[in-house]
């Protein structure tokens, strides 16, 4: 029995009695009161003790942190002493795709090399976020090949994530748990941009366009 519910129903009835309600109000009150009593106020002894048992035997779960998966980026970051605007910036090599395809291909190949020498262990051979160390990581590495994640993000956002890694996440992203390295420690700025070109090329995705406010 949920005492509070039963008391609430009784109080309503008492009020109705002293207000000298008409027959219609009484009928409605009986209907609603009975429904509330049986739906929320009534518990048989055996089911309720089963409920007690279930509540006392919840499997132990380590504390859960509800992290934000793609937290807002800072407006600007500094990588290798160079300021990179995140919201308004763009990959310096993206334009080569149309203006100089041969040069673009060189950057792609370099990005491919960088990926398979550094990223493959967690993000996987087919970029599916299923590398050989996934079983030991939480949060798990991003799946680039799922068809929409990187397509929804600007290249500069990925540049921020790759260059600053887990330690560069804001609080809501849980920077203490993320195994994403701050790749600026290992890679040059060009290598970082190149590997992002490779991610989009391999998966056949396009980066989210830079939004211009005119």
């Amino acid at each position: 029995v949920n005492i509070l519910v039963v008391l609430a129903v009784l109080v309503v009835f008492a009020l109705l009695r002293f207000r000298r309600a008409n027959l219609f109000a009484w009928a409605v009150a009986w209907w609603v009161g009975c429904y509330v009593f049986f739906r929320f106020g009534f518990t048989a002894p055996i089911p309720s003790s089963a409920n007690v048992y279930v509540q006392m035997n919840v499997p132990l779960e380590p504390p859960f942190f509800p992290r934000t998966i793609h937290p807002a980026s800072p407006p600007e970051i500094t990588v290798h002493d160079k300021k990179i605007p995140i919201e308004t910036g763009d990959s310096p090599f993206r334009g080569l795709e149309t203006s100089n395809p041969q040069e673009f291909r060189k950057h792609l190949d370099n990005g491919r090399r960088v990926y398979y020498q550094n990223c493959v262990f967690c993000h996987g051979d087919n970029l599916g976020g299923n590398g050989m160390y996934v079983h030991g990581l939480d949060p798990i590495p991003t799946n680039f090949a799922d068809g929409d994640t990187i397509a929804n993000l600007q290249e500069t956002f990925l540049f921020w994530r790759a260059s600053k890694g887990g330690p560069g996440l804001p609080e809501e992203g849980g920077p203490w748990d993320s195994a994403m390295p701050a790749w600026e420690k290992f890679l040059t700025e060009d290598e970082l941009w190149d590997v992002l070109l490779f991610l989009y090329d391999f998966t056949g995705e396009r980066p989210r366009a830079v939004e211009t406010h005119q």
């Binding site: 029995v1 005492i3 518990t43 048989a44 002894p45 055996i46 309720s48 003790s49 089963a50 409920n51 007690v52 048992y53 006392m56 035997n57 132990l60 779960e61 380590p62 504390p63 942190f65 491919r112 090399r113 990926y115 398979y116 020498q117 493959v120 262990f121 967690c122 996987g124 051979d125 087919n126 599916g128 299923n130 590398g131 050989m132 160390y133 079983h135 030991g136 990581l137 939480d138 890694g165 887990g166 330690p167 609080e171 849980g174 920077p175 203490w176 748990d177 195994a179 994403m180 390295p181 420690k185 290992f186 391999f202």
Partner: protein, 574 residues
């Protein structure tokens, strides 16, 4: 006439074609006769896929020299040799087409060769056809592989396991795999493959890491066919199938499960007896075993891409004053010489696995390091079944080590220190045990570049090494002057690191875990029976009271309606 003869000939030709067509794909005889190299279109399609998915590791020439090779251990297969490990064919023979398809499909667990479940059957088959183009051996008719008959597994009994254990010892399996199968045999540290690269004997107690698969059929097949290009020989000629099955049963009996069953939580049990590390692992029998995966430290400079340790088991107990951890892992040798320290620098060159000098048979540094070079040069490396030349291993430059990491202060929110040695705002307390020393030593970590000694003497420990397994006990008061307190009924973040001195692991070159949790199970786990009975009784009493009250009211009303004399007339309803 001529046209008549021509039409007859063409009809006969058509029939012959149809015959060949109807036999072609179904007849095993036809397949077994010539090399199965696929069509130009299949190889071309395979090439396209290879250049997208495989070339990064296996290289454009198929020689296993791709972009990633410098960081990989086990090294990618060199297809030009025609030597493949996982096959259904006799030792030294080429694999069948299906063998190649299977290995692409399933991958090799705990290596950098992933499974490819996303490719279609057609695509995997095309890839296998293209793989064959790297070695001329596949085109030679005499080399067409004849698969061995691999029956399904007979029942395993205690007798076959006993027999298997005997045969395992008699046939020299323990020289590499160790007496208890932990990959710690006397020859284990000297093993090299046909190309002179260091290689490790499988840890038979961890079937989830078996390259060819964990089932008894898989183990039997590996023992029957051997692993080409490695020191693992075929026992097809040496042992009859029953004996191979017996050894298979023994190997399968070494592990409780073919799954690792990784945990995220270490539960510490209350111990009625005061904790005494000198008693060893026996005190921990009641505590549940948590297996935690170890991954390479590839986030901070001084990276270790393939630590030899792939998991540790952790158990914990506590009493009124202290808590104790028992950490166990497998290591093919105890390195008790040299030194180790979480602050030791690692030069960037060591991140790269250097290519072994071709043909010299001696690896040059890299994954195993200098000692391996010496060890690899010993004649015993060529034949793992020869008696080890030297019983005493050369002294290691770096010793084995292990560390438990907890936050310096109990986290008040979800915020924890960075899992690699903490960060500037939130530091960690590191219980570092250099296994060349008698006692652990504490450090305070504020990031990899800022680790300082901070030994309070609170953490004590005992370490022992037996048959390929380190067992290390740490003990600390529940509340100590450094490090967060352990409180019964509460969680605390916990992480571990393991260093293998033989693989030159020190400082940030190591295997580590992410943050997991330790929970101290309260001394008395409240039984659910009491609260259950109490709830049931309370509800019963309330319900009886309600029913009684309603009945009493009914009786009262009935009496009034019957004109019975009310006890208080004035109190009747208006």
């Amino acid at each position: 006439m001529i046209s008549r003869a021509m039409s007859l000939a063409s009809v006969a030709f058509l029939f012959a074609l149809m015959g060949a067509w109807s036999m072609g794909p179904t007849s095993p005889q036809l397949q077994a006769q010539g090399p199965d190299l696929g069509t130009d279109a299949q190889r071309e399609s395979g090439k396209t896929l290879y250049l997208k998915y495989c070339v990064q590791c296996h290289g454009e020439k198929g020689d296993g020299e791709g972009y990633a090779t410098q960081h990989l251990f086990v090294r990618p297969r060199d297809f030009t040799t025609g030597k493949f490990k996982v096959r259904t064919t006799p030792s030294g023979a080429l694999p069948t087409h299906q063998d190649l398809v299977n290995i692409i499909r399933r991958g090799m667990p705990y290596t950098s060769m992933p499974a490819w479940p996303g490719l279609s059957d057609q695509e995997v088959s095309d890839l296998a056809y293209f793989t064959k183009t790297f070695s001329p051996d596949f085109a030679v008719a005499e080399n067409v592989p004849k698969p061995l008959e691999l029956p399904s597994a007979p029942a395993s009994t205690n007798e076959t396991i006993e027999l298997g254990k005997k045969l395992y010892e008699e046939n020299g399996c323990l020289k590499c795999h160790g007496a208890l199968g932990r990959g710690d045999g006397p020859s284990a540290s000297t093993l090299i493959d046909d190309l002179g690269h260091p290689i490790r004997a499988a840890n038979l107690t961890q079937p989830w890491t078996f390259r060819g698969g964990p089932t008894r059929e898989d183990i039997f097949r590996t023992m029957t066919t051997g692993l080409n290009g490695t020191p693992m020989p075929s026992f097809a000629d040496a042992l009859p199938p029953e004996q191979r099955w017996a050894i298979t049963d023994f190997i399968a009996s070494l592990s409780a499960s073919i799954e690792p069953g990784y945990s995220r939580l270490v539960v510490a049990r209350y111990s009625l007896d005061p904790i005494d590390p000198a008693k060893g692992g026996a005190s921990f029998e009641s505590a549940p075993v948590a297996r935690l995966p170890i991954v390479g430290q590839i986030m901070e400079p001084g990276r270790q891409f393939h630590p030899p340790t792939t998991s540790v088991t952790v158990q914990a107990i506590y009493d009124a004053e202290s808590i104790a951890f028992l950490v166990k892992w497998h290591d093919m040798g105890a390195d008790r010489t040299g030194k180790n320290d979480p602050t030791l620098p690692v030069p960037p060159e060591e991140e790269v696995v250097t290519r072994a000098a071709a043909g010299s048979g001696a690896p040059s540094g890299g994954v195993f390091g200098d000692q391996e070079v010496q060890a690899g040069a010993q004649p015993s490396a060529a034949d793992p079944f020869a008696e080890p030349a030297a019983t005493t291993a050369p002294p290691s430059e770096f010793s084995d080590a292990v560390a438990i990491q907890i936050p310096t202060a109990t986290p008040t929110s979800a915020r924890k220190p960075y899992f690699i040695f903490g960060d500037g705002q939130n530091s960690v307390d590191l219980w570092f045990f250099d296994l060349a020393r008698p006692e652990p030593f504490q450090f305070t970590g504020r990031g990899s570049a800022s680790i300082e000694p901070n030994d309070t003497g609170d953490v004590t420990g005992v370490a022992s090494y037996d048959q390929g397994e380190w067992s290390v006990i740490f003990k600390r008061p529940l509340r100590a002057s450094a490090g967060a307190p352990f409180v019964p009924g509460e969680f605390l973040p916990l992480a571990l690191s393991v260093w293998d001195g033989f693989s030159r692991e020190r400082g940030n070159r190591r295997g580590l875990t992410s943050w997991y949790s330790i929970y101290l199970e309260p001394q008395v786990v409240p039984s659910a029976i009491g609260p259950m009975v109490r709830t049931a009784l309370i509800i019963l009493v309330i319900e009886l009271a309600v029913i009684g009250w309603v009945r009493w009211r009914n009786k009262q009303n009935a009496r009034e309606e019957l004109g019975a004399k009310p006890s208080h007339p004035a109190a009747t309803r208006a």
